[in-house]
Structures are given as C-alpha cells and as structure tokens.
C-alpha cells in the first residue's frame, strides 16, 4: 500500500513537473477561419494551425485572437506515429519567421498522427496536440 502511494505521488509529481496537458481536439464547427487554409486547434492561450501537403508540414502559431505569433515565441517538438504499428518517429522542425517547417515521409501509409508538444518560451507552459495527417491528400 505504501509503495502504491509513493508510486502515485511520484507519478503526480512527474506529470506536474512536465506542466503539459492535452490540447483541445475539437473546436466548435470551424468558427475560426484557418488563415492558411489548414486545420486549426486551440490551446488555452494560443492556437495552432497545421498545413500538411505530401511530405511537407508547416506549423503556424497564433494567439487566441488569431493574431500571428512569431516562431521565436514558442518551441515545438513534433513526432509522427503510424497507425497499427504505432511506430513513432521524430520530425525535425526548422523555425521560420512566422512558422515552423518540417518534412516527413510516411512511405505510402494512408495517414499518421502528428503529435506536437508546444512550449511557450515565456511561461514555460507546455501543451500537447494531435493532428491526423493524410499525406496522400
């Protein structure tokens, strides 16, 4: 019992130390117009738009009012997870002025999960988001 309490306490600590939580996967039916024509998902203090075409991935960041934020205000870590096999690969992102850019070759798979960890540089707060990307579309 003691071990269990300790384990739970450690787990709780490690989670809070990461200060990360899952982003909102659903917004109200597209009340937000995607400025770059991609898919927008909302976080508590910001919004993220992903534009994926073929191998190319572009990640745009905005504040809650959809005013563009500079890439320097955030750090973004991206991973691709393939369905069925659940194989995960890191995606290297290059910060640009207004967006992060990366590339991922899904090797013919119909879709993959793009997992993002977005950290706000000033607050250090981290959010996690998941987008389903269909590279063949």
């Amino acid at each position: 019992m003691r071990n269990l309490v300790i384990a739970l306490a450690l787990l709780a600590f490690s989670s809070s130390a990461l200060m990360a939580h899952e982003g909102h996967d659903h917004d109200a039916p597209t009340t937000i117009k995607a400025p770059k024509g991609g898919v927008v998902k909302s976080l508590d203090a910001s919004r993220v738009e992903v534009v994926a075409k073929g191998k190319s991935i572009k990640i745009y960041l905005y504040d809650r009012d959809m005013k563009p934020a500079t890439a320097g205000e955030f750090s973004v870590v991206a991973q691709a997870e393939l369905p069925r096999s659940k194989k995960v690969e890191e995606i290297k992102l290059e910060p640009n002025d207004a967006f992060f850019e990366g590339a991922y070759d899904a090797k013919g798979v119909h879709r993959y999960k793009l997992k993002l960890e977005v950290t706000h540089s000033k607050t250090g707060e981290t959010d996690k988001l998941t987008f389903n990307v269909e590279p063949r579309k």
Partner: protein
C-alpha cells in the same frame, strides 16, 4: 406608296373605321388574355444535372462524379460556362448556355453527354437533369403548421405532402411543389448491434434477408373449371407487425425475427433541412411554375384550391398561402405602370388642348394613343411577349411620340382646310386633306425611321440587359409603327369626318402668340451673337460632361420587390439542430423589428430541391408592413443586429428575385463576386482570407464573406485490405456493409391509402453513438465463432475534409462575395482592384476574376456605347441621303450633344449613377433630339424652296416661329407623359424605367430650349451655302 396608302384610306373611309374598330376589339380582348409578369423572360438557358452520390465525401464526389460528367459537357455547342458544386453525397452541375440557344435542344445535347458519362461513373450512380427552370419560377410559398403545436410535425408534413401537394400539382402551370420541414414519415428498422451479437447474426445476413422483406411474385396461372386463375404470391409488408415478424436468421435452431434484434417504429426520415414560419416549426411549401405560365392566374388558382381543401383538413392545421407571393410584386408593378400610362395620356390631352385650343383636333390626335396601344397588344401576341414592366415601359416612353405624327398631320390638315375655306374656288375637302397629309408624310416617316434606327442597339444586346430591354424596344417600335400607320390612315379619315365644314378661321391662341413673340425676341438677340450662343452651348456641354466623373456606375437600378431574403450562413460542419437554433434566433430578432410583418425560414435542403444548400445555410423570406422606416434603413438595422448576435455567422441581405438574378450572372447570390481560381484547396482558402482582410475596410461594401468552403470534421473508416482479406472480406464488402449499418438503406415501400412510405433499415443510435461503438461493430462471424469487428479490418480516425468543392469552367474556385450599400458598383470595384493588386500576392497558377453585376455592367456599357455610335453613324447616313449635304447633316447631328446636357444634369441631381437603363435613355434621346432638328431645318428649306423666301434673318425667325408650336408640343407631350415615372423612383415596377425617363425628360428640356435658340443660330451662321445649294439641287431634280 405612302401617298397611295393615304389615298386608299380616304377612298375607303368606312373600311378604315371598320378595320380600326376590329383592331380595337381584338386588341382589347388580347390585352386581357396576355400573360402578366414583372419582367420579360430573363432566364439564361441553363441545364442542371444532379447526381446523388451515396454519402460520398466532397473530394470523392468531385473526382468520381463531377469531373467525369464535366469532362463530357465541355465541348457541347453553345455552352458558355460550366459550374459545379460537389458536396456531401451530392454533385450539382450547372451548364449555362448562350442566351440565344433553345433550352430543349440544350437538354437533348446534355442528355446525350450524360449517357456517355454514365459508363465512367461508379455503379448505381445516375445523374439526372433538373426540371426546366425559370428565374421567376418560384412564385409562392405556403406555410403549413399546427396551431398551438397540437398536431405532430410528421402529420403536418403528411398533410402537406399527401393532401395539399397532389391538389396543387394539378393546377395548370404548376411545375413543382417542394416541401421542407415537419418530418417525412418512414417505417424505420433500428437494429441494435449488441442484440445482433447476442443472436450471433451478422450485418451481411440481416442485409440479405431485408433485401427481400417485401415482395410479391407471380405464380403463373391455374386452370380450374374451365377458368383461368391468376396465381399471386403475396409477401409484401403492410404494417409494423409485418416488419417485426420478418425472419432474419436462426440462433441455435430458433428463428430470429426483426423484432428480436431491432426496434421498428414510425419516425421521420433523416432530415437534411427544416422549415419554420414566424419562429414556429412549419412545413414551408415552395411552388414553382412552368416556364411561360401566367403567375397571377396560377396564384389565384392556388388560393381557390386551398380554400376548397381547407374544410377537409384536421382542426388545428393552418394553411397560410400568403407567406410569399410573387403576384403581389407583379400586380403592384403592373398597376403602378398602368396608372402612369393613364396619367401620361391625360397630361398629353391637356397639352394638346392648351396648344391646339380645339377639342375636335385634340380628340383626333389623342385617338392615336389607344389605337396604337391595342395594335401593339396584337404584336405582343404575335411575338409571344407578356405584359410586363418593360413592355409597358416601352409604351410609357412612346406615349408622347405616338401623338407626334398625328399632331403634325392634323395641324397641317387644319391649316390647309382653313386656307381652303378662304379660297375663292374651294376644292373638295377630301382632296385638301389628301394633299395636306401627303405634304408632311416625308418628315413624319424620316423622323420615325431615325427613331427606329437608334433603338437597334437594344436588339444587339445579349445577356440580362438584352433580355430586359429588347421587349421594351419591341413595344416602343411597335407602338411607333402603329402610330405612323394611324397618322397615314385613321387620322386623315377622322379629319374628313370631324373637321368637315366646321373649320373656323381660327388663329393662334394668346398663349401661343406670346410664345412666338418671345421666340422672336430671343432670336433677334441671338442670331447676331452666334459666337456667344455657340460658346455658351459648348460650355454647358463640357460642364455637364464633367459631371459624369462624379457619378457612379451601376449595372441596373435596385429593384424594390417588397420582400427581402436573408441568408444566414453558419459555419459548415454545424448540425441541423444547431443551425435551426441559429435560424430561430435570427427569426426572433427579425420579428422584433416593427416594420417586419412575417418571416419564413428554410434551413438546409428539401428532398426534391435542386438547390444544394448544406444544413448550415438558412434562407429567410421577410415580408414588411407598408409603413415605417425606409427599406434600406430597416435592412441595415437588421444586418447590424444579426451581426451583433452572431459575429461568426455570415449574413447576406437581399431580395428574392435580385438574389436569383445575381446567382444567374455569377453563380453567387450577391452583387459582387470576386473569384479566385487555382488547384489547391488550402491555397484557395488562404488567399480568400487574405483577400477578404485586404478589402474589408472598403467603404460601401456590406455582407462581405468568403464562400464557406472550409474544413469540416470527418470520421474515416479506412479499410486495410490485407487485414480484411485475412477474414475473407474484400474492401468493397466491408464498405457496403458499413454503408448499410451507419447510413442505412431503404428496403421496401408500404402503401397506405395510396400513400407510399419507405421502410428504412439502419443501426440504432447507440450502435453509432461513438467511434468506439463503430469500431466494435461486428461485420462477420467466422466458422470458428470469432467475431470480425470493424477495428480488426479498418483504421478508424478523425480528420478534417472540405465541406464542398466548387468549380467553374473546369477549375476549382473560391468566391469572396459582397453587396453594396450607399455606394456605386464601379467605384467599389475599382477600389477593391487597387487593394488586391497591392496587398495580395498570388502563387503561380492562381488568379482572380471580378464577376457579378460588375462584369455585366462593363460588358453591357461597352456594347451600348459601341452600337450607339454605329446607330449615330446610321442616322448621319440617312440624313446625308435625304439632304445630300454634309453641312446640313452636321447641323442636325450637332443637336444630339445638346440633348445630353439636360439628361446628364437631371441624372446627376436625381440618381447620380449611370446604369444600363440610363444609357438606354440616352439612346432614345438621340432619336428624339434629332427629330426636332429635322423638323426645324426642313421647314427653313421648305420656306426657301416653296414660299420664295431667301436665306435671311427674317426667314430664320419666321421658320422658327412656325415650327415653335410643333417642337414645343412634341417635347411637352413626351416629357409630361414621362413625368409620372420621374417621380416614381424606387417604386415597384418603375425601378428600371425611372432612369430612362429621367434622361429623356432632362434631355428633352435642354434640347428643346437649345433647339429653339442654338439650331437657328448655327443654321444662320453656317447654313447659307448648303441651304442654297440644296434648294437649287432640288429645283433641278424637279425640272428633270
């Protein structure tokens, strides 16, 4: 030949009277039977192809249905534009043909191509053509609802569908009745996935059994006792119990029935649309008429039919046929114009009495108006024209000119008869009338030919403007031709009856004498000061032309339809229930505005509708009280309140017919359509948002919005072929089973009292409630007893996809649309073009096109100006041919710019906008203005040739004085006849005619004043040589 006509008429006076009487009676009868409409038929020949595509996503609809069909359609002769909309499970293609093509031929060509395209489409997908439509086709809306909501919405729809609709469809002229709202009754089999599992049954088995749930077959014939009996095998279902008792499989040897695995109920069919009236749920029925059918007659027949049915309806059912009636607009418009025609005729008669001071002469002259009108009615019948605001407008413009020819004839006949009575050896009255009529016939015919010539550009216009103004031209020219015939036949005959033996030595009235003295004084001052007079005239012309720079440019004036249509566009992806809530809230806001009488709403798409609106779109028809604030103020108030309440919802405020006209011009229900073309949907969306932001602050643009082509959430079940194969399933089998389970299918029909209802089969709500439940759906049970679920053979995930994909002429496009308020179209578009050029960059392969009314306005203006110049050249050639003198021709032609001075000035102070309608006014003005100058200069030449006058100042003054009364009368009757239209700005039916009248009246005022002063001055200064040469040439020709 003209002399022979006059001679024949005078020799057969009773015959002329009899033919006139017959024409009047026949014309009168024809008038009452002509179809009545607001406008001429302005429908562009368009064929709509609709393809239901079994719940496919828009991308699939585009690639598998729209594109194959489109590829066959391009290349059909006469096709001008192919537009398409690929939505969820529906492809709609609009094939727009040239205006001149015949709709039934077009349909035949399209049908041939559809037959070819069918082979390239997925199995069981069949494109069908929509009915022959008409822009003015939606003539009425009827709301059917339950008072105090005591009757079930499904029953309300039942009454609309099975009691009202069949009766309304029998009314001659009704093409279609489309209902939305309530609920279409269905027998539904809602299969529980868990019960299916419990009984060890698969979807495949259930689907196989249900395919045969309701079947009658034949057993051939049985011979018995020398008789032949037809053997019938009865297996159809007739009620809920029959369905429940249907066998679907065995479970441990025990039969499993539908009732064991499913809930069977009577329930409304899945709704993709809903309706309401004044904020309460209702079935809204839209009546469409057949092309060419008479709207007013159909509306009366509908009212009669509803009154007949009403007593048989259940208590508590309300049928309101007055939700929207196009006939109200038609009657208001036609009554308005007819009233103006009557007032115009009275004013013309007053002018005749004032100038002629003779009741008999006035009556003979005014006869030309009704006779010409009734003969024109016969021409309408011959050309298949309807009585509408444009044909009546043609008559209104012509009304003053109809009496002109008769005035000239009657006045000359009277003068010659008076001279004859004074003569020592009087000739016979008939001979005098013949000579007098022959004397003036040349100038009458020449003037009429010139007026006809200036109208020719109207017949060369195509597009909407051509459809609108050509009937006006036909009416105008028919009336004018009839009046010419009347002046050559009936007028001399009436003169012979009414002016015989009673001609007094009647001189000018005091008023006319005063006018002539004034004219003399003015000319005595002006003739020696020709440079000053011409200089002032040129300055006035230059000043008036400079005003055009301060005037706006619009396509057509705004119509006042009496009702408004508000489109509420919620974000795509919203459910029907949520969209309904927004629509209902919008209705509440509207009903709180005191000027609004009633509102009816259609959200989404009705079952038979060819308008492919998604559930996120609500169209609200608004009817107004007559009193209250101006309409523009009410609409702006409404717009503001709606935007405050729903900041993220698109609002488009318009009028029903104007909306349809806009849609016909650009495929968009707004006055301005900025279209971005390109390949990638993401880029199109991105650029559309950039463009919207760039032009959002443009003054005068309202209802600005980007077409709702956005991403909506989807759940994809992607079959993994290799995994499915492991369980003996192909991808096709899996998707078919899933379609039946989640989308459902109609497996039979149940007949009840001649009403047929669908038997529908689908998984119940709980089996489809979540992705997890969907994943657990059993597709198959293996011989080992293993259950094969969806997640074992497919990847189920959420993703976003486009809600619809729109294409035009083979390319994807997105539209940014807007309406205008308080500013002209030309100015707004110019500002927008500048902003787009500087602020928005387009990648390679992407470009922008400005459409809507702007496109039509530019094309129409260019055509009118070009053909107008050609007609002016034609006038010059005719004048050259008649006078054989460039100088005389030039002097007549110079009056045209003078006429423009008044036209531009009055337009500046009234409408301050140049439209296609005002350009038509300028065209008309060219003819009328040159007519006055012809009359004036011809008379100078007549005096020199026949009355031994030489080219002196006195001759000019005498000639001007003698022509003063006809010139003033012509101008007065034409202007006064149009005065009622000048004061009817924005009134229903007068919208297009008002600017035409403004330009003609303004132009006539300036051209008449300047004709009286400037034409004699110019002729006096520059005309001597040419006049003397003309008279000499004429004398030589006569001698030869």
């Amino acid at each position: 030949m003209l002399n022979q006509i006059i001679r024949f008429a005078l020799n057969h006076r009773l015959l002329v009277l009899a033919i006139t009487a017959l024409s009047v009676v026949f014309g009168g009868a024809t008038v009452t039977s002509l179809p009545i409409d607001v406008f001429p038929d302005i429908t562009k020949p368009t064929v709509t192809i609709m393809t239901e595509s079994h719940g496919m996503a828009p991308e699939e609809v585009e690639t598998r249905v729209t594109l194959p069909v489109e590829s066959f359609l391009n290349g059909i002769p006469g096709v001008e534009r192919v537009r398409s909309q690929s939505g969820v499970g529906l492809s709609v293609i609009y094939v727009e043909f040239d205006w001149g093509t015949e709709i039934y031929r077009n349909r035949q060509l399209v049908q041939e191509k559809i037959n070819l395209a069918r082979e390239r489409l997925p199995k069981d997908i069949s494109p069908v053509m929509g009915p022959v439509g008409s822009l003015m086709g939606q003539i009425q809306q009827i709301a059917v609802y339950s008072k105090d909501n005591v009757i079930d919405p499904m029953e309300v729809r039942n009454i609309a569908e099975w009691v009202l609709r069949p009766r309304l469809m029998t009314i001659p002229g009704v093409a279609q009745v489309i209902s939305i709202g309530g609920g279409l009754k269905q027998y539904q089999i809602r299969v529980s996935a868990s019960k299916l599992n419990l009984h060890q049954l698969t979807m495949e088995q259930v689907d196989e059994e249900l395919a045969q749930i309701s079947q009658n077959t034949t057993g051939g014939f049985l011979e018995k006792d020398g008789q032949e009996y037809l053997v019938r095998n009865i297996g159809i279902v007739e009620n809920l119990d029959d369905i429940k008792g249907t066998f679907v499989g065995l479970h441990f040897g025990k039969p499993v029935l539908i009732g064991d695995i499913a809930e069977v109920t009577e329930a409304p069919r899945l709704k993709r649309g809903d309706g309401s009236f004044n904020g309460k749920p209702a079935v809204v029925m839209t009546i469409q008429k057949q092309p060419g059918a008479d709207t007013v007659t159909i509306t009366k027949a509908i009212a009669k039919a509803i009154n007949e049915i009403r007593p048989s309806l259940p208590a508590g059912i309300v049928v309101n046929p007055d939700v929207f009636k196009q006939s109200d607009f038609i009657e208001a418009s036609i009554d308005g114009i007819v009233g103006k025609l009557k007032l115009g005729t009275v004013l013309v008669f007053v002018v005749l009495l004032v100038f002629l001071a003779n009741l008999r002469m006035s009556i003979i002259t005014i006869t030309a108006i009704p006779v010409s009108f009734l003969v024109t009615a016969l021409v309408f019948r011959l050309f298949g024209l309807s009585v509408n605001t444009m044909t009546l407008g043609g008559l209104a413009i012509a009304i003053g000119e109809l009496v002109d020819d008769s005035i000239v004839d009657v006045e000359n006949v009277y003068r010659r008869l008076r001279e004859n009575t004074k003569s020592l050896r009087p000739r016979s009255v008939l001979k005098v009338i013949y000579d007098a009529s022959s004397e003036v016939r040349n100038s009458i015919v020449l003037a009429t030919v010139i007026i006809a010539l200036v109208f020719l550009p109207l017949f060369s216009l195509d597009g909407l403007e051509g459809r609108l103004f050509a009937p006006l031209g036909v009416a105008y020219l028919s009336a004018l031709a009839a009046s010419l015939l009347v002046s050559l036949t009936l007028t001399p005959v009436l003169c012979s009856f009414f002016l015989r033996g009673k001609v007094n030595a009647h001189g000018d009235t005091k008023f006319v004498l005063w006018l002539k003295n004034l004219d003399k004084k003015i000319l005595e001052w002006a003739l020696p000061r020709s440079r000053l007079v011409i200089g002032v005239a040129l300055s006035l012309f230059a000043a008036s032309m400079s005003l055009t720079g301060f005037m706006g440019r619009d396509f057509l004036p705004k119509f006042n339809e009496g009702t408004a249509m508000i489109a509420i566009i919620a974000p795509p992806g919203i459910s029907l229930a949520e969209s309904n809530k927004i629509g209902a809230a919008a209705e509440s806001i509207m009903l709180a505005i005191p000027e609004i009488r009633s509102v009816s709403r259609k959200t989404g798409r009705a079952e038979l509708d060819e308008h492919a609106a998604g559930v996120h779109v609500s169209e609200i028809d608004v009817d107004f009280h007559e009193k209250g604030r101006p309409r523009e103020a009410v609409l702006n108030d409404l717009r503001t309140k709606l935007k405050e309440k729903f900041p993220t919802v698109g609002v488009n405020v318009g009028q029903p017919i104007s909306h349809l006209i806009d849609h016909m011009l650009s495929g968009v229900n707004a006055a301005l359509a900025i279209k971005i073309f390109g390949r990638d949907l993401n880029v199109l969306r991105e650029k559309a948002i950039e463009l919207e932001a760039a032009i959002a602050d443009t003054n005068g643009i309202v209802d600005l919005r980007v077409e709702e082509q956005s991403l909506v959430p989807q759940v994809k079940i992607h079959v993994m072929r290799d995994e499915a194969a492991r369980y003996g399933l192909s991808a096709g089998q899996v998707t078919k089973l899933l379609e039946v389970a989640f989308n459902g299918e109609v497996v039979a029909q149940i007949l009840e009292d001649n009403r047929s209802y669908e038997v529908f089969f689908q998984f119940d709500e709980s089996s489809r409630a979540s992705i997890e439940n969907m994943q657990k759906t059993v597709l198959k049970i293996m011989p080992t007893g293993q259950k094969v679920t969806v997640e074992m053979v497919a990847d189920v995930y959420e993703v976003f996809g486009p809600n619809e994909i729109n294409r035009e002429n083979g390319q994807r496009r997105i539209v940014i649309s807007g309406n205008l308020s308080g500013r002209d179209l030309g100015g707004v578009v110019k500002e927008i073009q500048d902003k787009v050029r500087t602020k928005v960059e387009f990648p390679e392969g992407y470009y922008v096109v400005y459409g809507g009314q702007f496109e039509s306005q530019q094309a129409a203006t260019n055509k009118i100006v070009l053909f107008g110049l050609i007609s002016i050249l034609g006038i010059a050639l005719i004048l050259m041919n008649n006078y054989q003198s460039k100088a005389i021709t030039a002097q007549i032609m110079v009056t045209i710019p003078f006429a423009f001075i008044g036209g531009v000035l009055l337009l500046f102070f009234t409408d301050r906008s140049i439209t296609v309608a005002s350009l038509v006014g300028f065209i008309t003005l060219c003819g009328v203005a040159s007519r006055n100058a012809i009359m004036m200069i011809s008379h100078y030449l007549h005096l020199m040739r026949y009355e031994n006058e030489s080219f002196t100042r006195d001759m000019i003054i005498r000639g001007s004085q003698e022509r003063l009364v006809p010139v003033l009368m012509t101008a007065s009757v034409t202007s006064l006849a149009l005065i009622p239209l000048i004061f009817s700005k924005g009134q229903p039916g007068s919208e297009v005619l008002h600017p035409v009248a403004v330009v003609i009246v303004g132009g006539l005022l300036s051209s008449t004043i300047l004709d009286i002063i400037v034409t004699p001055t110019i002729f006096y200064r520059y005309g001597r040589q040419s006049a003397e040469k003309y008279v000499k040439l004429q004398s030589i020709e006569q001698e030869i």
